[in-house]
């Protein structure tokens, strides 16, 4: 239990997807213009990460890993399908994103319109695939750990995008040099936020 909680906290603050690994930057930069849209996208990412990571974990554990298919019979003991992990992970992610898209379109058409192309593009959000690949690489011990890692990474990403959206709303009235307006200043803010998030770097849980 302790371990699961630690993984959750760690993936929010210490191994933050945006500020520690700079993953998922495209939608992070593009959709963070207002807080309300970014909250919507943040929830979508939390949802997708929270489902795809455990599903991919099971897939990895029982199908892809070397010797994972041994439950089918002893003759599968040396089958190694890990070369298929990218394509299968992406397939899972894409279907989950499709699901989210249908849910959002049905229940919140306004949010659906404001997210636009970036909602289906969650499928190629590097944070999502990154989540599954980190899960594979870090070798989590149980589905519960993988779930808490997925949810934690999602919450960390959520926090990052909502934080920067609030800052961008605030600096709308600032006299930013014309050449830096828009993306330029957003990159600089991201860097400053990264410095602030370094406060958690080095905490051992």
């Amino acid at each position: 239990m302790q371990e699961i909680f630690n993984i959750f906290i760690k993936s929010i603050f210490i191994d933050n997807m945006v500020f520690a690994y700079f993953l998922g930057m495209c939608s992070y930069l593009a959709v963070s213009k207002t807080v309300n849209t970014s909250v919507g996208l943040g929830f979508a990412v939390v949802f997708v990460l929270g489902i795809t990571v455990p599903v991919d974990y099971l897939l990895n554990e029982y199908v892809l890993k070397e010797g994972a298919m041994v439950w089918l019979g002893p003759e599968f003991a040396d089958v190694d399908l890990s070369f298929l992990s990218f394509i299968l992970f992406i397939a899972i992610i894409a279907s989950m994103v499709q699901l989210v898209e249908m849910i959002v379109e049905k229940f919140s058409p306004a949010l659906y319109a404001s997210l636009g192309i970036f909602l289906p593009l969650i499928a190629v959000n590097c944070a999502i695939l990154g989540g599954s690949l980190f899960m594979q690489e870090r070798d989590y011990q149980s589905v519960a750990e993988a779930t808490s890692f997925g949810l934690g990474s999602g919450v960390g990403w959520f926090l990052a995008i909502v934080g920067i959206a609030a800052i961008r709303e605030k600096i709308r009235y600032s006299n930013v040099p014309p050449a830096l307006r828009g993306l330029g200043i957003t990159f600089i803010i991201t860097g400053l936020m990264g410095i602030a998030f370094m406060s958690f770097l080095g905490i051992k849980l």
Binding site: E169, I171, L192, S199
Partner: protein, 383 residues
């Protein structure tokens, strides 16, 4: 004064639009307003404006309130230096030695910062703001006395350009420029910014120069100074942060004049204290057993709470938001101290972190207020 006024009036046309030195108007403007109160108050732009008092007066009050900490810090450098050598010369010798260390830092900080500020003011056509007088004063106070001057210059340049000018100058920055300068030094040159070597100027190698926090980090609680020493500030540390008493005198001035917001200041202390108490209850290791009140006078906690967290630009703007903001700073600062083995001090990073999330707190305070009022409106319409 009259002579000066006449001289300035005579020169003025050259610097106005169409004049010979039109491009240098920002420099002239800053020199003129240094001597005379201008007819116009601060341009009505920026999130920091709350009152008719203009920026120059506000910032000067802050600089004045920093003086007790600065003077004490200057003396303390000398005191610690001679203490480590085993000598005890008179008061003036200590002050003189400290001044030799502090004045170059101040010159570099003001020189580089104001130079860049004036450059940006010229190019972008805004006025040279006094905001930097405060930042340039704060930066030397939060670095170790022996920090190499070129590193300081680099940090100041980074803080002014990327912390402030890219956002459009004073009043529009997201994070506190002084803290950004310190964070830059801390991450770029950790060897010169932490450990037990840097806090006493030119000490003998045999003398332990660790700050109380540095000692606590490595589990050495035996030579923790007494409450009196830490409160008065007779301990090694950054120049301005050691004496809680002097900081409180400055803080009192800020509170009386209404420049700093008491809500932020008190909630930071409250947050740190409560977090300290919680850790005392937990008490899993020696570090958690540090008494809660001791957290408030160790390291940069008091300095950050009084001068950094209350920065009106980067703090939350809403009244309710200030309580959350201050409380979280105090809590996170103590949390980082206790939990993070990488950094002995958490105050700088706690404030930077909350600076980043301050707009979000404001956003939700405002949203909830809008919702509350809408509800009230609906009730009123129905009845």
């Amino acid at each position: 004064m009259k002579v000066l006024r006449n001289f300035l009036d005579k020169q003025k046309p050259h610097f106005e639009k169409g004049g010979k030195f039109e491009k240098l108007h920002a420099m002239f403007d800053s020199a003129e307003t240094l001597f005379f109160v201008p007819n116009t108050v601060t341009a009505p732009k920026g999130a920091h404006i709350r009152d008719a008092i203009d920026m120059k007066r506000t910032m000067i009050v802050v600089v004045v309130s920093l003086f007790p900490a600065l003077l004490f810090g200057t003396w303390n450098i000398g005191y610690q230096h001679f203490l480590s050598l085993g000598q005890s010369p008179d008061f003036w010798a200590m002050l003189g030695y400290g001044a030799l260390k502090v004045i170059p830092l101040l010159i570099v900080s003001y020189g580089v910062g104001l130079g860049l500020e004036i450059l940006f003011a010229q190019i972008r056509g805004h006025e040279v703001n006094e905001g930097f007088f405060v930042s340039a004063m704060l930066i030397p106070l939060i670095v170790p006395p022996d920090v190499p001057l070129w590193q300081l210059a680099l940090a100041v340049a980074f803080a002014v350009v990327f912390g402030k000018e890219v956002f459009g100058g004073t009043g529009m920055n997201i994070v506190n420029p002084a803290l950004l300068a310190r964070a830059f030094l801390f991450f770029a040159y950790p060897a010169d910014m932490s450990g037990d070597k840097v806090w006493i100027a030119e000490k003998l190698d045999s003398f332990s120069g660790a700050t109380p926090l540095g000692d606590a980090l490595v589990g050495n609680f035996d030579n923790t100074p007494s409450f009196y020493d830490m409160f008065m500030g007779f301990i090694p540390g950054s120049i301005g942060e050691t004496s809680t008493l002097m900081i409180l005198i400055g803080g009192l001035l800020l509170l009386v004049t209404g420049i700093a917001n008491w809500r932020v200041m008190f909630t930071v202390f409250a947050g740190g204290w409560i977090m300290g108490l919680l850790f005392n209850l937990w008490g899993a290791n020696d570090y958690m057993n540090i008494p809660a009140w001791q957290h408030l006078i160790m390291g940069g906690f008091a300095f950050g709470a009084v001068f950094m967290a209350t920065d009106p630009v980067t703090a939350t703007q809403t009244t309710k938001g200030m309580y959350y903001y201050g409380f979280l700073i105090g809590m996170i600062a103590v949390l980082i101290r206790v939990f993070n083995p990488a950094y002995p001090e958490g105050m700088m990073l706690a404030i930077l972190l909350m600076n980043v999330f301050a707009p979000l707190i404001d956003h939700y305070v405002i949203e909830s207020n809008i919702k509350k009022r809408l509800k009230r409106l609906k009730v009123a319409v129905r009845s």
